[in-house]
Amino acid sequence: MLLFPLWKRIFILGLCVIGLIFVAPNLFYKTVEAHNDAITAQERSGMLTDEQAVARTGWPDWLPSGLVNLGLDLRGGAHLLAEVHLNDVYKARMDGLWPELRRLLAAERGTIGSIRRLSSDPGEIRIQIGNAAGLARAVEVAKTLATPVVTLTGVGQNDIDVTAQGDTLTIRLSDAEKASTDDRTMQQSLEIVRRRVDAAGTREPTIMRQGSDRILIEVPGIGSAAELKALIGTTAKLTFHQVVGRATSADQAPGAGQEVRPDANEAGLYYILETLPVVSGDELTDARPETDQNGMPSVGFRFNTAGARAFGDYTASHIGEPFAIVLDGKVISAPVIQTHIAGGSGIITGRFDVQQATDLALLLRAGALPAGMTFLEERTIGPELGADSVQAGVYASIVGFSAVVIFMIASYGLFGFFASVALAFNIIFIIAFMSVIGATLTMPGIAGIVLTMGTAVDANVLIFERMREELRRGRNPVRAFELGFEKAMSAIVDANVTHFMVGMILFVLGAGPVRGFAVTLLIGIIASVFTALWLVRMMIADWYRWRRPKTLVV
């Protein structure tokens, strides 16, 4: 009992040393943070400013440099909860299907008669045909457009459902296709949001999917939620259209399949364009800021193979005609096609300055969001409020810790001191572990640590009280010591298991700050079992072997 096997001793002490090493970076928070930022900057741009080089050497590379992330409420920043309009994509799919469907049905005009698209829900196409008897043939034709869905659940399902009633044909996405489309839309949205936020160069953003159609975005250090929204919400939807003509007002009625778009630079100038783009920004593979032949800032771009072919074919057959480059619904330039542009690369000239050209290239690279978003939650926390909270939290923690230590020593003497050392290590473990896994510390998280200070000593209190009881029953010190630990064990196990269970529920159901609280609580529980049972036990055993007291006073 009193003899600790060497491996166990090495294990306990080793863990304590590891804890100390990993907690160390947090004591030099600013230095290490600058060091880490310098490394990130180096990875990103490949070079360092003098300042960054100094920061880089400020913390030795061989030491761990993981820090506890401060949450938004402690650092300041913005939080958004966005809902993605998945239905937008259904509409785009249907609109994309329509020209092909029209062509196929038109070829069958002999049996089907005239065709007319009726107004319908955005996610479906409804077509009225002139000859109701030809409906079966129409369905057959429409079904040729369907392709099987390749998913685990949607085996045997096609991507579109075709139904017919009377003289009307209804085409919509099948459930299996909707499910897989939704998933793609969400992943694409997440990726684009992530790229846009990353491009702004903020530190440690959190971007994650929540539920079926939501994205949680947390960006520390950004000025406000509105700023973040602007960053994400800039759609940069780039399309290339055939120009039909010019107009002087937005009210001018366009022909069928045409639309009126304003010029981005000149007020009062409008273009009438074909609605269906020749090529769209989705097919861009690259965009970068350049200068045109006049030395003006411009944006160079390159299409993928499909885009390059479509663009090449179009330019070959429309030499001498103007075409429009449309960004977010505005015509940024409408050059006349001079030659057949093969190879799929080109240049956008407009009235840009260098910054605008750089931004545009970046936005084009990041691509357009596949669907619109509604922001369900917006939070902004100013940096001063965060700094105040950190200070208040640290101050309160120190006072709380001291109070618990004084109480423990006053109540249990030397054993209370041992428990206090264990408590200190408990907190070190919480912070060290959070640093290693990159967990986020929030204000409720600080409360979680403080609460852990109060409850972590519970295991030791249980043990010490039990020892007292056993001593009162006249047992010798070693027996009392052993029984104290062993008899208290079942209560300690039950107490910590239930505690842990609640922590898990909080972690699963909570979001943001509440989750931060759950994280510190969970780590604290595990750490407290280790420190209270093993560390304290080792300290008491060593003390006992050293002093060999005849009587034991707990």
């Binding site: 709380g400 109540s411 609460l451 509440v514």
Partner: protein, 332 residues
């Protein structure tokens, strides 16, 4: 003998059932009243649950809440609640206010940046030094869901704990624990109704933490009860319970005290942002301790325990090397 702080004497013989009509039934009535108070007068829900916007402002000028209200009237924001915040940590020239604005319109979305900018502009007309330090806006769609998340998490917690206690002890103990937890839960909610403290998502987290603290206490008492039931086979259940609570009283008090010692500085010094959260937990320490001593075991006494069939402490299976202890115990 060295000095030892002893809040509880080494040996106590309190009869915790003596004033049962008061300690148990009055607490039960208080629980029911607290539960009813959720409907009338009702909790002061924060924007997490009600939707709307909270804006926190800071200024170096002396605050005039009435002037703030007047300046915002022209914006037609509907129900606007403005309150000045006081905190011992604030600097002498730090005057903080919170402005709570009801959810705007019928749509699901939160209040946008333009509207918040509008509020800032309006406030600047009466106090140029005012700054907005934080804003929170929750759309009605999310807030409706959050209420259910909160309710479900509380129910899941209580059921999870019941199952665990049932496995480890007996079903009577599980019922006793659950009623004790419900007592803690509603009395805390009742306190928030009485003081009309803002009840938001973080308070729900505090409530769940109270539950885990409270069950912690109950488990310790039950654990000792189980031990004593084996030791004193013929002693009436009521006396075994009193003995068990008395034996663990020193630990119960010590743990409650250490928890309070840690939490109270946070309550006083931790800033107003987290005060409601910490306040709930501090209160939870009291109600949790109370229900361990005066509620849960009374329920177990009412339900009775089958003393012939004893569950073996399963921790022996996990931690082994207990046989030796049992022997030693019998020898001693």
């Amino acid at each position: 003998m060295a000095f030892r702080l002893k809040l509880v004497p080494a040996h106590t013989e309190f009869d915790f059932f003596r004033h049962q009509w008061l300690t148990f039934w009055a607490a039960m009535i208080a629980t029911v009243l607290s539960a009813l108070s959720m409907f009338w007068p009702g909790l002061s829900f924060g924007i997490d649950f009600k939707g709307g916007t909270t804006i926190r402002t800071e200024t170096s000028q002396v605050l005039d809440v009435a002037a703030y209200r007047q300046s915002l009237e022209t914006l037609n924001l509907g129900d606007v609640v403005i309150a000045e915040v006081f905190d011992p940590n604030f600097r002498a020239d730090q005057h903080v206010a919170t402005i709570r604005i009801q959810a705007q319109g019928e749509g699901p979305s939160a209040m946008g940046g333009e509207q918040i900018a509008g509020v800032e502009t309006a406030l600047k007309t009466i106090d140029p030094a005012v700054r907005i330090v934080s804003t929170e806006s929750v759309g009605p769609k999310v807030s409706g869901e959050l209420i259910w998340t909160a309710v479900w998490s509380a129910i899941a917690t209580i059921i999870g704990i019941m199952i665990y206690i049932w496995i480890r002890f007996e079903w009577q103990f599980a019922v006793g624990t659950a009623i004790g937890l419900i007592h803690d839960l509603f009395l805390t909610i009742g306190l928030f109704v009485v003081f009309q403290i803002k009840f938001d998502l973080s308070i729900v987290a505090a409530l769940l933490t109270i539950l885990s603290f409270s069950v912690n206490d109950k488990v310790v008492v039950f654990d000792r009860l189980r031990e004593n039931l084996i030791k004193f086979k013929t002693m009436p259940l009521r006396d075994v319970m009193n003995l068990s609570v008395n034996e663990t009283l020193a630990r119960t008090v010590a743990t409650s005290v250490t928890t309070l010692l840690a939490l109270v500085p946070l309550l006083v010094l931790g800033g107003d942002v987290i005060r409601g959260f910490v306040f709930a937990m501090v209160w939870g320490v009291f109600v949790g301790t109370y229900s361990s001593i005066f509620i849960s075991k009374n329920i177990v006494l009412m339900l009775g325990v089958n003393r012939d069939k004893k569950k073996v402490d399963p921790s022996t299976k996990i931690f082994g090397d207990k046989v030796e202890v049992m022997d030693a115990d019998n020898r001693g």
